[in-house]
Amino acid sequence: MTDLAERALLPAGLRDILPPFAAFEAETVSRLMGVFARHGYDRVKPPMIEFEQSLGGEGAFRVMDPLTQRMMAVRSDMTPQVARIAATRLANDPRPLRLAYAGQVLQVKGTQLRAERQFGQVGVELIGATDAAAEAEILALCLESLEHVGLSGITVDLTLSKLVPAIIGEQNGDIWLRNALDHRDVGAVSAAGGETARLLTALIEAIGPADRALTRLQALDLPPAAQALRSRLVEVVALIRSALPGLTLTIDPVETRRFEYYTGVGFTIFSRRSAAEIGRGGRYLVHGEAGVGATLFMDTLMEILPKPEAPRRLYVPAGTDRQQAASFRDLGWVTINGLAAADDVAAEARRLRCSHVLQGGQPKEI
């Protein structure tokens, strides 16, 4: 490998984002955050790295703090940081507390579908709210912000990550049963036999469009803890239906992977344009306080957003009056300053990807 090629190689799951995409991503983040801000979600900015015991979570890079000799972790998810802020420094702020955040996270490994180890999270938290209206508000807010940045074909999948544990018990050690549930493998689940297996099979068969799924779920004879979860789901679906009538809504009551953090209704945002998830969220209980939150994954989102039109670039030959160029920037032009006099101004402008040259006080197409 040559010296330069060696320098170009990045570790797995990391990448340079180049023009124009770096600017487009920054602009998209600020538009999403703008929607959140207009709904009263105030931005917080936690540090990149903190003591591992306050961050918790798996999959974080760890380093030792030479000052305190305690372990620190680079954040792999910003949600616990926002929850910590809400529970500590903002403990005395009135509830419900509405917070928003945007930042980069780093994970020790990517997934099969998303190899990225570093990516941007943009999210909201509604803390200290127990009503089902909170789930509906967060979901509607996410969809409004995604539509605002031009995403189409959005569908939402709802889950109850504590439903299966309420049926088989939290301490279920059967790795094959869990595996079978993760794959919605009816054959393997029903092979386990018994009343529990019949119930779990029925749950898997309920997966699908929301209305059909709810009908099937309501026909099941569930243990009390699971009944409470189910009635919450019914309530949330009704609120979402009235807030977002046209939304394609599905229910998967067996979804538990990556929802370990959530205690109530959880949701995943998909788009027909991507095989990966756009965002995820749900109701949780952390530091003794109920909340609902959601996170959008910027890497997936940026891949499927319609690309913006490139701004018009205006070449300003060396020696042109600075005020002239400024007035065109105000009109939306990008101006490229010639640093030295060029023999062939048009050729120089083309070389620098400009479509126009500023001549005689006007942009002239080349």
């Binding site: 794959h183 054959g187 393997a188 095989a275």
Partner: protein, 220 residues
């Protein structure tokens, strides 16, 4: 054609295909004639549905195509699903074909000679290193897996390992190679698999196909 509207069905080459095709046809999907031409080098085939294509790939690759959403729907054994453990694959329907089981086997002349409860480490030849490692780890035994792609039965006799983990249907291959089955790891049959995202973003359509396969496999 818009990628979002295309539906790709991934089928495994080989033994399972002969059992799977009647189910595919019963679901109302009829591939172009070239599909049945053994001389054809094509890998992708059109069907009687203009938006549905069939691809024919190796059994392990069916799972990979479906996991990444390159195919929305496929047919694969649960051995493949357990081995890869792709979170993006759902297996909502047991097709009841390709039945066999995954078993641990050892040379007949060694059987019963030592006490498995005293093992801390064993070497196993298998096509399924993940399943094998998990299976032995569950009882505190570290399995060093030697990945082979076929002819596992040769390995113990040539001193490569003591045990093998492999698919067993009649047991005649084991017997012919002086091996005996000592333990069943899992029952295997072929599943209809679907891509998780496809199931969630195109719920009615995918649920419709699952239902048609169910009717084909078990009657309406």
């Amino acid at each position: 054609m818009n990628r979002a509207e295309k539906l790709v069905l991934a089928l495994p080459k080989g033994r399972i295909l002969d059992e799977a095709m009647p189910l595919v046809r019963a679901a109302g999907i009829e591939p172009e004639p070239d599909f049945d031409n053994p001389k054809s080098r094509a890998l992708r085939f059109s069907t009687n549905h203009p938006h549905i294509d069939i691809i024919r790939v190796r059994a392990f690759d069916v799972a990979t195509f479906v996991a990444f959403g390159a195919a929305e729907i496929g047919i694969a054994g649960n051995d493949v699903l357990m081995e890869f453990d792709y979170p993006e694959i759902y297996a909502p329907l047991d097709l009841g074909i390709g039945k066999c089981h995954l078993a641990v086997a050892e040379p007949a002349d060694l059987a019963g000679e030592d006490d498995p409860s005293r093992w801390s480490h064993i070497r196993v030849a298998t096509k399924y290193p993940t399943i094998t490692a998990k299976h032995f780890a569950q009882r505190g035994v570290q399995a060093e897996c030697v990945k082979l792609n076929g002819a596992m039965e040769l390995a113990p006799g040539l001193g490569l390992c003591r045990l093998i983990v492999d698919l067993v249907s009649t047991g005649s291959t084991l017997k012919a190679n002086g091996l005996v089955e000592v333990e069943r790891v899992a029952e295997i049959s072929s599943r209809l698999i679907v891509n998780r995202t496809a199931l969630k973003t195109r719920p009615e359509e995918l649920a419709g196909w699952i239902e048609r396969f169910r009717e084909g496999a078990y009657g309406a």
